[in-house]
């Protein structure tokens, strides 16, 4: 077993390209659980939590985008300035685990694991984030919808490093809410992210834990986009109800030991309605 601790992106990429079967370790909050439960065999490790480029984020006011390095932690993302720029992602960050987990766990790790219950993923889906990768074949960028390919499956190729995600900084309300059986430190049984683009009059809803991947809800989005008055913060109750119903219908939940399909679908409807009411306080 070897453990490399590169401090630059070049070094990290070269190490991984040279040894594509090595395991990337960021905060270890997913990886070490798998190792401890012996669901994953680890031979060589490349730790990325000291790679300066991956720990950085940058805001481009011209293109109005935010690029967040893969090793940025949830405890950074849950606070200012992220809270103002990407509220849905910051709110999702706050729901992750405990303070200890948020200090160690990273956005890149959430993407690396790609669990349908990953709390960072519905906001990234709703923000239509772009995921940046680098590896033996050079650099490439994928829309989130193409990056996540299944439950705990993604488009990352062997030897590739997730370097960052780029998200737009939008004007308009956002939110994230998740249901679990405990008041903290709990895996979502259902999660909903809402992102509004007031300038384009667009609305995006993404559902977590209720399908093999994060699900978008085009029908619900269309209803809100057509009916909402962004300037007045107004959405009529019937439209809100119809959108929540459409989100319910878009869910593809299953029964498992964490919850039932029926409850998950119900929760998606309730959370969608509540997020919409928070975003559009007036009937």
């Amino acid at each position: 077993m070897s453990v490399l601790v590169p401090t630059s992106l070049d070094a990290a990429r070269d190490a991984l390209s040279a040894n594509p079967s090595a395991t990337v370790l960021a905060g270890g909050t997913d990886l070490m659980v798998e190792v401890n439960e012996r669901r994953r065999e680890v031979v060589d490790v490349i730790a990325v939590d000291r790679v300066a480029e991956l720990r950085a984020w940058s805001h481009d006011p011209v293109s109005r985008t935010l690029t967040i390095g893969a090793a940025v932690t949830w405890s950074e993302i849950e606070d200012a300035p992220f809270l103002a720029w990407v509220p849905s992602l910051a709110q999702a960050a706050r729901t992750v685990g405990s303070p200890q987990i948020r200090h160690a766990g990273t956005i890149g790790g959430n993407l690396g694991t790609c669990s349908p219950a990953g709390d960072g993923l519905p906001p990234l889906s709703a923000l239509e984030a772009v995921v940046h990768l680098t590896g033996p074949g050079g650099e490439r960028s994928l829309p989130f919808a193409e990056f996540m390919t299944g439950p705990k499956r993604n488009a990352r190729a062997a030897g590739e490093l997730i370097t960052a995600v780029t998200v737009p900084v939008l004007r308009g309300p956002q939110g994230y809410a998740k249901v679990g059986v405990r008041n903290a430190m709990v895996i979502a049984t259902a999660g909903v992210a809402l992102v509004c683009d007031a300038d384009a009059g667009g609305v995006r809803l993404a559902l977590g834990s209720v399908g093999p991947v994060i699900l978008r809800c085009p029908e619900a989005e269309a209803i809100v986009a057509a009916e909402a008055d962004f300037a007045a913060g107004r959405l009529a109750e019937p439209a809100l109800r119809a959108a929540a119903e459409a989100a319910r219908a878009a869910a593809r939940p299953i029964d498992d030991h964490r919850s039932t399909a029926a409850y998950r679908r119900h929760a998606v409807g309730v959370l969608t309605a509540r997020l919409l009411r928070r975003a559009f306080p007036h009937d």
């Binding site: 709110q91 249901v179 405990r182 008041n183 709990v186 409850y263 309730v270």
Partner: protein, 759 residues
């Protein structure tokens, strides 16, 4: 909290004071040695191969490939058990290793010892087991109705017991009825099972350092399986990180010793969380049907009940849990007529056994749910119906036993009702998500919240029952001004180590009290369970201290030419009734060496007869809870806002320790109410990790307000009653009653799931 008086003077660190644990600093600093921290030079690692099937016949078992794995020192199976092939606390029906059939998922089939845990895993994988999978018996009712062939030579019924008392013909005029269900709760201690076995040089014996609850009972069972005399199996307590009943049964003890004896080298075994979930007994899942017959004014006239406890694959303590459950059918209420039918049955589910509350948790959830139904049926407030039926000292139970203990049921009900309600508005303080149901998930706004308040009251037996003489032993030596106390009382975190020092200080007036290692080098202390150690081992330490004190006073009397009967210890000094003598005990004890051992026994109890009659229990304690909850009714999410409790404790010997038990017990009761359940489907365990077996976090645990009722118990050596179990028992039904109050549903099952509330 009620103030306590230090009756025996003012020695520092004596009874009644919030003395800090002797192991507290080490625990906080991380230097405390838990049993998993013990190792020895040259120690091998052990690991266990477990059944993946709930019920299967072993067709072939071949360990030869495992033996060839480099680094493997031994592989053992049922064929290598030299003594009795089975063990168990009450009946010895559980194999050390399965030989012909496996009866639950996780049953041990073989064990290996090797130079490294990874080698152990490799070796386990190399063991070939061919199974013929059988249809598992997972529905306890099928065991009751006898429709399934026995899955064990002892049959599918572990015990059946009735209680028939009084007039069996009474009906109504008011009747309330319900069927209640409790899921399987895990003890979920943080310190996982671990042990180190070191063989004697001559190979003729073994020393085992282990986290357990009763060293001498382990010793007896291990020795029988090893075919060794008890003195050749010496046990010492490894630091215990919680127990809650899960360490009453043997888990890795025999395996570790066998591997050490086989290899002639020290062997350590340590379970991980997954293995722990499979490797120890759990609280019995249970279905309870009850029907109460009462007058229009709410007075109970007769209770009918039927209990079915799912004992899982092996008997463990199921028969005692059953008796505890059914004999507590009435709760802390007077009732003269009863018809109760109770079953503890065998299934291919995980074995069930002891857990904090021991059968009474199941009874209490049912009788308290019934009391609320009765209140509603009679148009009474929940507390009023309880007050009208409250039991008193001298009342006869449905077993015919008279309650001879202090029974301040009315008082605890009044006190819990008088405790302040939370000042927090419904839905918490504006905008603070941590105060809302759903917590950090940001699901809920204050407008979605409804508040509910619920009450529950319990009675719990203390000590062992049904003729069991669960005595305790303590040895106290006064050597040159220092007190040395030795006992085999297992410290699981409850604080007996603190209490033992407090007792010795107060009785002997000497602050310097040294505790010897907790091991089998002294007589049995009985189990650290059944809320019994303060009473039983406290009584033993007290008794031994008094023998030492009498000899010291006799010595001083001799020296001073006085009458020993005139001397007493007052605080830290020896004084005489005439006021002539006053010398520090430490001075009087210089150069002295006194050594006394004392056994404390409680009065004998009896078995129940055919009709469930008999003085089967030793003593009783009582507890009341009030829960305030905020519920998001649309999503079914619960935030417990506050728990208030009034508990009958006899006497508070260490306020801080009592508070710890009260708060910890409530957390465990809350867990059962709203989240804790180990799920099995067709015998397969679905959530054996802390990712999915949810325990309450700090954000789930509310502030607790406490009123301790101190009416010293005349039968208890120190006037104190055990305080460990009651907080767990009635907190569960109180929380559920509060949720019912908020949402208006019956909610007959715990844990209450979100879907039960909102779908």
């Amino acid at each position: 909290m009620t103030a306590t008086t230090v009756t025996a003077g003012t020695v520092r660190g004596g009874l009644g004071q919030s003395v800090v644990r002797p192991d507290g600093t080490a625990k906080v600093q991380g230097s405390f040695q838990f049993s998993s921290d013990y190792t020895a030079d040259d120690a091998l690692w052990g690991a266990t191969l477990r059944s993946p099937h709930p019920f299967a016949r072993i067709v072939r078992l071949d360990v030869s490939a495992a033996l060839r794995v480099p680094g493997v020192a031994a592989v053992i199976t049922a064929a290598d058990v030299p003594g009795v092939p089975t063990y168990g606390l009450i009946s010895q029906d559980q194999p050390v290793f399965a030989s012909d059939v496996v009866r639950f998922v996780g049953e041990p089939v073989a064990a290996v010892a090797a130079d490294h845990p990874a080698t152990c895993r490799q070796a386990l994988q190399a063991i070939v087991v061919e199974y013929e999978v059988l249809e598992p018996l997972t529905d306890p009712e099928r065991a009751v109705d006898g429709s399934v062939p026995p899955i064990h030579p002892d049959g599918n019924v572990i015990r059946h017991q009735r209680i028939v008392r009084g007039d069996q013909t009474i009906e109504g005029p008011v009747t309330v009825e319900g069927t209640y269900e409790l899921g399987r709760q895990d003890q979920a201690f943080l310190g996982l099972e671990a042990a180190l076995a070191v063989p004697d040089h001559d190979g003729g014996g073994v020393e085992l350092v282990v986290a357990t609850q009763w060293l001498h009972e382990d010793q007896k069972q291990i020795a029988a399986c090893l075919a060794l005399p008890a003195e050749k199996v010496r046990l010492a307590l490894g630091g215990v990180g919680g127990a809650f009943g899960a360490r009453e049964d043997i888990s890795l003890q025999v395996h570790t010793c066998l591997l050490a004896l086989r290899t002639g080298r020290p062997v350590r075994i340590a379970y991980d969380r997954h293995e722990s979930f499979l490797g120890h007994v759990h609280r019995h899942p249970c279905t309870v049907w009850m029907r109460h017959h009462a007058d229009h004014d709410g007075r109970i006239r007769r209770i009918e009940a039927r209990f079915v406890f799912d004992g899982g694959a092996y008997a463990s303590t199921s028969s005692a849990v059953l008796i505890n459950g059914i004999t507590h059918t009435q709760g802390p209420y007077a009732c003269e007529n009863a018809t109760v039918d109770g079953w503890a049955v065998r299934t291919n589910n995980l074995p069930s056994g002891a857990m904090r509350g021991f059968g009474v948790v199941q009874a209490c959830f049912a009788h308290e749910s019934q009391m609320d139904k009765l209140a509603a049926a009679c148009g009474l407030e929940p507390l009023e119906v309880r007050l009208r039926n409250a039991m008193h000292t001298g009342d006869r139970l449905i077993t015919g036993q008279v309650v001879e203990n202090v029974a301040p049921v009315e008082r605890i009900i009044h006190e819990v009702a008088a405790l302040p309600l939370p000042d927090e508005p419904v839905g918490g303080h504006d905008g603070d998500i941590l105060r809302l149901p759903g917590g950090v998930g940001r699901t809920t706004d204050a407008a979605h919240v409804r508040r509910g308040i619920g009450y529950a009251v319990s009675i719990k037996n203390l000590m062992y029952s049904e003729g069991f003489d669960d005595y305790s032993t303590a040895r106290v030596r006064l050597v040159d001004g220092t007190v040395h106390v030795k006992f085999a009382t297992v410290e699981v975190g409850q604080g007996f180590v603190t209490l033992a020092q407090q007792i010795a200080r107060t009785e002997l007036g000497i602050e310097d009290v040294v505790l010897d290692r907790i091991d089998t080098g002294v007589g049995s202390a009985g189990s650290t369970s059944a809320s019994r150690q303060t009473w039983m081992s406290g009584g033993a330490v007290l008794g031994a201290c008094r023998l030492v004190r009498d000899r010291l006073l006799a010595l001083v009397a001799d020296r001073e030419g006085m009458d020993a009967a005139a001397l007493t210890i007052d605080g830290a000094e020896i004084v005489d009734s005439g006021g002539l003598l006053r010398i520090p005990v430490a001075v009087a004890a210089a150069g002295v060496d006194i050594d006394e051992t004392f056994e404390h026994h409680h009065p004998a109890t009896e078995d129940l007869d055919e009709l469930g009659q008999g003085n089967c229990h030793t003593a009783f304690a009582f507890c009341a809870h009030r829960a305030v909850v905020d519920v998001d009714t649309e999503l079914g999410l619960v935030k417990v806002v506050q728990i208030a409790t009034s508990q009958d404790v006899g006497r508070v010997l260490n306020p801080l320790s009592v508070l710890g038990q009260v708060e910890g017990g409530i957390a465990q009761g809350l867990g059962l109410a709203v989240m804790e359940e180990l799920l099995q489907d067709g015998g397969i365990v679905k959530n054996p990790t802390f990712t999915d077996y949810l325990l309450p976090t700090f954000l789930d645990m509310p502030p607790v307000v406490v009123s301790l009722v101190e009416e010293p118990e005349p039968h208890s050596p120190l006037g104190a009653k055990g305080v460990g179990e009651p907080p767990t028992i009635s907190s569960t039904p109180a929380v559920v009653a509060a949720i019912r109050d908020a949402v208006g549903r019956e909610l007959p099952r715990v844990p209450v799931r979100p879907a039960d509330i909102c779908l």
